[in-house]
């Protein structure tokens, strides 16, 4: 009898605490959010430092100028779209182009809206270190890459040259490119940006030649100058079929995306995030402080904010 009563009590308690009837999973924030009882915004952070820089500055201004409490969630891009549509995060500040997700969430379901340009243009490409490009100027054209395959060889690449790719979350056509351009290269996936950067730094320390997938804007260029290798020019639609790609990557104006509800009722915070727009140089300045001077993102953001008042004043008006 006693057990039955306690089971009933437990069920009743559960019903009272969670509310009877339907549970709306799109209305759940993090349990750590908003613990001080103020108005709050949740931003998603992607694993690269540029994304950290965007979020750090947005967070600093939201907290110090608009009085919000900001929570950040570290999450890869595709899961971030998912989280954005469910309202687990309010904004994604740097998107490199995900046509499938745009179709699904922005056009069909209308749970996410475009928040405008970030102001930074992103570009993916193949890079060799500048010290090597200066000695061998013709390496910067893909047609000559096979000539250098031997010098780019590592134990991991078998008998071929190594083309190092990075994190699995990044957009890449490299396997198809190597195949379709008839290159004597093996794509080796470093598996994470952290591993890739560490390896690039080690190569650079020894002035060894290497060929890597990389992207700009990126703070590492300041530490390890790299020169892009020209691939066949990009034309609209030349990358439509993933198996047949034989052209370079496009230049992408990076986009911001907001949760649809947040965009409508997010008040000052939503308006601010829509207006947030800065340059590649601005972003790199903050990124370099985080990654090389090892400042915390908050400290780096404060430094930038203190010296660029005219830029961010416009975002608040």
């Amino acid at each position: 009898m006693r057990t039955r009563t306690s089971v009933l009590a437990a069920v009743a308690l559960l019903a009272v605490t969670t509310g009877c009837g339907a549970a709306d999973m799109t209305k759940q924030a993090s349990p750590f959010a908003n613990a001080q009882g103020s108005k709050s915004v949740t931003l998603s952070v992607q694993s690269w430092v540029g994304a950290q820089a965007n979020v750090a500055v947005a967070q600093y201004l939201l907290e110090h100028e608009l009085g919000y409490r900001v929570d950040t969630v570290q999450i890869d891009e595709v899961p971030a779209w998912d989280a954005l549509s469910q309202g687990r995060v309010d904004a994604l500040l740097e998107d490199w182009g995900h046509p499938e997700e745009e179709q699904r969430y922005v056009k069909d379901k209308k749970t996410i809206v475009n928040g405008g340009d970030l102001g930074v243009t992103g570009h993916i490409g193949w890079f060799v270190p500048t010290y090597f490009a200066e000695q061998h100027p013709d390496v910067t054209d893909w047609k000559n890459l096979n000539k250098y395959a031997d010098q780019f060889r590592t134990p991991e690449s078998g008998g071929k040259g190594q083309l190092m790719d990075g994190s699995p979350s990044y957009v890449t056509n490299d396997k198809a490119l190597v195949q379709n351009l008839d290159l004597n290269y093996q794509v080796v996936f470093a598996g994470s940006e952290a591993a890739q950067i560490t390896q690039i730094k080690q190569f650079a320390k020894e002035k060894k030649p290497f060929l890597t997938y990389w992207y700009s804007p990126q703070w590492l260029f300041k530490k390890v100058p790299m020169t892009e290798v020209k691939l066949p020019a990009y034309k609209e639609g030349c990358d439509a079929d993933p198996a047949k790609v034989a052209c370079a990557y496009p230049h992408t104006p990076l986009q911001k995306y907001l949760n649809a509800d947040f965009a409508k009722s997010g008040g000052e915070a939503a308006a601010f995030l829509r207006k947030f727009k800065w340059t590649t140089e601005d972003q790199n300045e903050v990124s370099l402080m985080i990654a090389e001077q090892k400042l915390t993102p908050q400290e780096a953001a404060k430094k930038w904010v203190d010296s660029h008042e005219s830029t961010w004043k416009q975002w608040l008006s």
Binding site: D24, I75, P155, E156, Q199, A291
Partner: protein
């Protein structure tokens, strides 16, 4: 034939030998019939295309269905939604409570609980650990992780105890549950993070549920073991007193299983903590998130600052629950109210005196010196060390001379011969049932269409296990022989075992370059402690009388080791091999993050790209590999004993 008759007095080994030959002969016969048939139909080195099943369509369909329906379907609104809400509410409640008590209160509470349960020394250790978390500037993330852990461990214990109760009381349930529990533990967490995220969305509910899947099995296993192991005499006595089944359970069997239950709790806590970092990949926050974010800017020091609190929490919780299980430090119950009152007093005093938050100025920055040390290490060891060469050269040689031949050899073998080898190995060490399981697991990998990457992963696992065993046995023997060495080794092993693997992702790349070599290095670091511990313990437990008699016969120390200790500790050594294999396999994912490629990379790719088909299939292949390797390395006696 003559030799067989001649050795008649020693009949047992001869019979054994005959059985080995008979098994092999039978296998050879089966192979002679089946191989030509298979070869005629599907003549290829790698697994034949015709025998694969492509799961891409159904899995992608399932993932689309979930995304389209999760905001409206009753299953989500009335079931998953409530689970999710309940998790969020309980984690929030614990978190707010911890924040309200303040740092002084939490530290005092922890210390007093440790004091009542485990004595003064551990109480001081607990207090020091909490203060260290604050000093490292990690107070708030530590509290977030703690809140998450409290809820996840409670849920795991409840789920595990219920499953264990069922398995302990019913043989049929035991048989049904065992493979389920095996799968829950071997399936790499990364593989089921994605389905969990699809259903629950990113964040705390998904993290807690993923943790429960991983942490509940040890509780279930040990509960079942405890219930089954209850003293028959006591049970009969209780029965003769006319107790009902439920009374027997509550008054005799469960109290008798106390030790196993507490060990289960201990194991569950450790498993849950090891998930803290992995859960950060899906936005769980807390310490794991700090480790993960530090990696983005390649900052080992900051990652370590967040990793140390995880190690401290793990060590403290391990020691305290282990002491509770062993029953040391038990004091009369009367002490509890005083301890709690004292903790409350400290908490209130802390709040009245100032702020509940950890003061910002009381922090120590360890990131900078650590980074400098790592830089120095990698700058000097990476290459150009005279005579021995740098770590990068070793890694290169290891890749070229060990990993490449092993991988190419495995991939060159015709698919049916791989199955035959697995069958032979599993049958020799176990029964035809274990052999069948192993072969089916291996065949499933082929059917899933990931034969090549799986053999690549297998070659890395085998190489890592070999290195682990060489180092582990040597260290274990040394530890068994010298008490002092073992004491010095213990904290090192603790750190190796509990430090989140993400922390040494950058150092291994900095030392060994990107590729399979750093993946092997990470696996060795992770699996070594268990192998060392089991080896040392096994050697210690060798019957002293046998050793004494060997010594009296004038055996040298080396002879004692080779001819007495090692043979007598055979069972422990085999267990060490088995554990080495399982643990190495658990780090395959980390291998994927440092360039190991193969299955580990596919699983990470699946999560990062929301690609259920790639991630889940690779995860399933890892489970099959684990199952196969487990059966091939697990002698039958142990299995028979486990079920008893």
């Amino acid at each position: 034939m003559a030799t067989v008759t001649a050795s008649a007095p020693r009949a047992l080994p001869a019979v054994l030998k005959n059985r080995v030959i008979a098994k092999l002969a039978l296998l050879a016969l089966a192979a002679a019939i089946l191989v030509p048939l298979a070869n005629a139909r599907w003549a290829s080195g790698s697994w034949p295309e015709a025998l694969t099943v492509d799961l891409t369509q159904p899995l992608t369909g399932a993932s689309d269905w979930i995304i389209d329906n999760r905001d409206s379907h009753p299953l989500f609104l009335y079931f998953f939604g409530h689970i999710s809400n309940a998790v969020v509410l309980s984690v929030r409640a614990v978190y707010l409570a911890l924040l309200t008590i303040g740092w002084a209160g939490v530290t005092a509470l922890g210390a007093f609980v440790a004091w009542r349960v485990a004595g003064v020394r551990l109480a001081l250790g607990t207090a020091a650990a909490f203060l260290a978390c604050g000093l490292l500037g990690m107070w708030v993330p530590t509290m977030q992780t703690l809140a998450l852990m409290v809820v996840a461990v409670l849920a795991s214990v409840v789920v595990g105890a219920l499953l264990g109760l069922a398995a302990g009381l019913s043989d049929r349930m035991d048989r049904v549950l065992r493979p389920v529990l095996d799968t829950m533990q071997v399936l790499p967490a990364f593989a089921y993070l994605l389905p969990v995220v699809l259903v629950f969305g990113i964040g705390v509910p998904a993290a807690v549920l993923a943790t429960v899947v991983y942490a509940a099995p040890p509780m279930a296993r040990l509960t079942a073991l405890g219930l089954r192991g209850a003293d028959k005499g006591v049970l009969e006595a209780v029965e003769s007193l006319g107790a009902t089944a439920r009374q027997r359970l509550l008054t005799a069997r469960i109290p008798l299983a106390r030790k196993e239950l507490l060990l289960g709790l201990n194991q569950t806590i450790m498993m849950a903590l090891s998930m803290a970092v992995i859960a950060s990949v899906i936005g769980a926050g807390g310490l794991g998130d700090r480790v993960y974010q530090a990696l983005a800017s390649v900052d080992v020091g900051a990652a370590l600052a967040a990793g140390i609190p995880i190690v401290l929490l793990a060590v403290v919780l391990d020691r305290v629950t282990a002491a509770a299980g062993a029953g040391t430090g038990q004091r009369p119950r009367a002490g509890w109210p005083y301890a709690l009152a004292a903790a409350v007093a400290v908490a209130v005093a802390g709040r009245l005196l100032g702020r509940a938050d950890w003061p910002d100025t009381w922090t120590v920055n360890i990131a900078e010196p650590v980074n400098r040390a790592v830089d120095w290490m990698t700058a000097h060891l990476y290459s150009g060390v005279p005579v021995v060469g740098g770590t990068a050269d070793w890694a290169g040689h290891f890749t070229t001379w060990v990993l490449d031949p092993l991988r190419d050899g495995l991939q060159w073998l015709p698919w049916w011969s791989v199955l035959l080898i697995v069958a032979a190995l599993a049958w020799l060490i176990g029964t035809w049932r274990t052999a069948l399981t192993a072969v089916l697991a291996m065949a499933a990998i082929g059917v899933l269409g990931v034969w090549e990457p799986s053999l690549d992963t297998l070659s890395q696992v085998l190489a890592a296990v070999a290195v682990t065993l060489v180092l582990g046995f040597a260290t274990g023997i040394a530890a068994a022989r010298s008490e002092r060495f073992e004491r010095a080794l213990r904290p090192v092993l603790d750190v190796f075992q509990t430090m989140p693997q993400f922390v040494y992702l950058i150092p291994v790349v900095a030392l060994f370059g990107v590729g399979r070599a750093p993946a092997v290095a990470a696996a060795v670091v992770y699996a070594l402690p268990a192998v060392v511990r089991i080896t040392a313990q096994g050697l210690r437990q060798v019957d002293p009388a046998a050793l004494e008699s060997a010594r009296s016969l004038g055996a040298t120390s080396g002879q004692q080791l080779r001819q007495v200790q090692l043979p007598l500790a055979r069972r422990s050594l085999l267990l060490a091999v088995n554990q080495g294999v399982v643990l190495v396999l658990a780090v395959v994912i980390i291998g994927g993050l440092v360039g190991g490629g193969a299955l580990g990379y596919d699983v990470v790719f699946g999560l990062a790209q929301g690609d259920l088909a790639t991630g889940l299939v690779a995860g399933a292949a890892i489970v099959c590999l684990g199952l196969m390797l487990d059966r091939v390395t697990q002698p039958t006696e142990r299995r028979a004993k486990k079920g008893a």
